[in-house]
Symmetry: C2
Subunit: 346 residues, 2 copies
């Protein structure tokens, strides 16, 4: 963590250290070890850089993710602890998508002076909870002052050599699977925006928008069993992310819309035009896994793992197009209409 | 690099890929290797995360750094290619400060739509030049749209196990050294702000502000020879950074102001109140190395290494105070008045 020692930046760093104090991050030389990733971290925040020891036979996996006020979260809608949880969860989801396990993370945090006390403490409560849940220690970072809350999280993970899962391995004939339900986070965002009366941050319909759970156990199981031919996480919506997987693999796909595990909506919402299929196809922020499996391996897949449903939703094709076929037997090209920051504001 | 494949975000990623195309980043499986860090990178941008193989006997060094428009650079003063160079150089400086060698980096870039063409291309020219110079390959990142240019760079380096240099090892009696000249970057910033007529971005007086050179060779030499007891880089100004080193080591220091290698100023500037000592003590952005050496090892230090001067400027003391003594024999406590983002705007 840069900027140790003096001035008011010091206060921000002290709050971060206090929040993560229970993790007892120390240098190896001090003889203490962190709760999570103990073999991994040898130098905690406080120096110019963090030191990490790789496990023999494993490869290091690296990812970074923006989490910006107004772009990726709404400060007046997302509670501070949810921002803390989610900024780490979405970066960890990229680690899950490689079949890897997270080890430690760097936090870059810019925030207004007036948020550097109560808001920051709540943010750190959520961040610490996520770090504990995902087994991912705070290793360092950078802090500065800014008019808006800007966050960037780098996560370091590990995967056994040769067991990483990539986007590029899908082959025609492979079956397409997704975990969980799709569109839940997008519906949660709509409910948040509408400020539904009596909707608590703990409401189950907001849970996936506020406190998403990266599919770490499922990702690791799939990697260890070598079942998928390709995998990625669903962060920007199925229509956008499936197109990316197909492009990386040089293939196409057919999705059967009646197989899609779409978010449940109330009759009232349906009457008001909320379409579960649209949410499932284009809604972002779900952090479920999308993966393809050769037919010969499909029988090895359970219907659910650690309580997360695994659903077949289509098949990989040779033609470089992504098609969605509906329950009346009609087909149409699926345009990528998920989240693209340079096309629209969310 | 997240967000591959579709929409207009695709164009931004394509520009980045084109700019770094000469590095021929490919997966190991494809049989091609990157120019720099070839043993190191096994999966380039284009998947959810980057894969990195650690060298046996080495530890991974990790650092991340904000580089924000208006806070760390001025878009109307810093040319785009200087922004590209500097955002990487300052993060690499943290790696140099550990005695490590940089290997690869992740680029998180948020920028306004109207900068996503010419400005971005110029930015990438500077970034690529820096990446080549520092031997540091682009491994991945994240892009998004934003009203202002926001950059976060994570650098991954390596250091032979047990050879890393930390802030915490200074002992009373050790001598204090700095590399290069101090205050040059701060003076360069003043000249930039004043828009001096006829001042080209290539002017030598702006060089350190626009195109700083992290002291990689010196850092590695010091680490290999095991000369310093503690080391860090000077990013926020000597007064602030020396206080940090002293705090981490539990010691104090005396700096002799007449020994300080201060920036040269013209008579005109001096008459206008520009004080080289103040610039050397409190000016930020120099990215020189600050290190302490036990007296028994001081004879091993050359006066310069790879063209960079090495200057003794003081001594570590037991009293937990940082003192500056001037050439008239007067002493005063040196307050940390360097760069603190939560105290002032730069």
């Amino acid at each position: 963590m840069r900027g140790r020692g003096t001035g008011s930046e010091h206060d921000v760093l002290e709050r971060i250290r206090r929040a993560f104090g229970g993790q007892r991050l120390r240098t190896k030389r001090d003889g203490l070890r962190s709760e999570a990733g103990s073999r991994f971290l040898s130098l905690e925040m406080g120096d110019d850089a963090a030191l990490v020891s790789a496990t023999p036979g494993y490869e290091i996996v690296l990812t970074c993710d923006w989490f910006l006020e107004g772009t990726h979260f709404l400060r007046d809608k997302h509670p501070a602890d949810a921002a803390g949880w989610k900024c780490l969860a979405r970066a960890v989801s990229d680690i899950a998508a490689m079949g890897a396990a997270p080890r430690c993370f760097l936090l870059s945090l810019a925030l207004p002076r007036e948020l550097a006390a109560a808001w920051l403490d709540d943010f750190l409560v959520g961040l610490r909870r996520a770090a504990g849940r995902f087994g991912c220690s705070l290793a360092g970072g950078d802090t500065t002052e800014r008019r808006e809350v800007l966050i960037n999280v780098t996560v370091v993970g590990e995967v056994r050599r040769g067991r990483d899962l990539r986007r590029s391995g899908a082959r025609p004939g492979d079956l397409i699977y997704v975990s969980g339900r799709l569109g839940e986070a997008e519906l949660g965002l709509r409910l948040l925006r509408e400020r539904k009366r009596g909707l608590s941050p703990r409401d189950s319909r907001l849970r996936k928008q506020l406190y998403p759970k990266p599919r770490l156990e499922l990702g690791r199981w799939l990697s260890e069993k070598r079942v998928p031919s390709a995998m990625m996480d669903l962060s920007d919506g199925l229509s956008t992310d499936l197109c990316r997987l197909c492009e990386a693999s040089g293939v196409g796909a057919v999705i059967e819309s009646d197989l899609l595990p779409s978010v449940g909506v109330t009759r009232l919402e349906r009457n008001r035009g909320v379409d579960p299929l649209r949410l499932a196809l284009h809604g972002g922020d779900d952090y479920e896994l999308l993966f393809t499996v050769p037919k010969s391996k499909a029988a090895r897949l359970p219907r659910a793992l650690c309580g997360v449903a695994i659903t077949r939703t289509g098949e990989v094709t040779q033609t470089r197009e992504v098609i969605v076929s509906d329950d009346n037997g009609r087909s149409r090209v699926l345009e990528p209409r998920g989240w693209d920051p340079f096309r629209k504001s969310k």
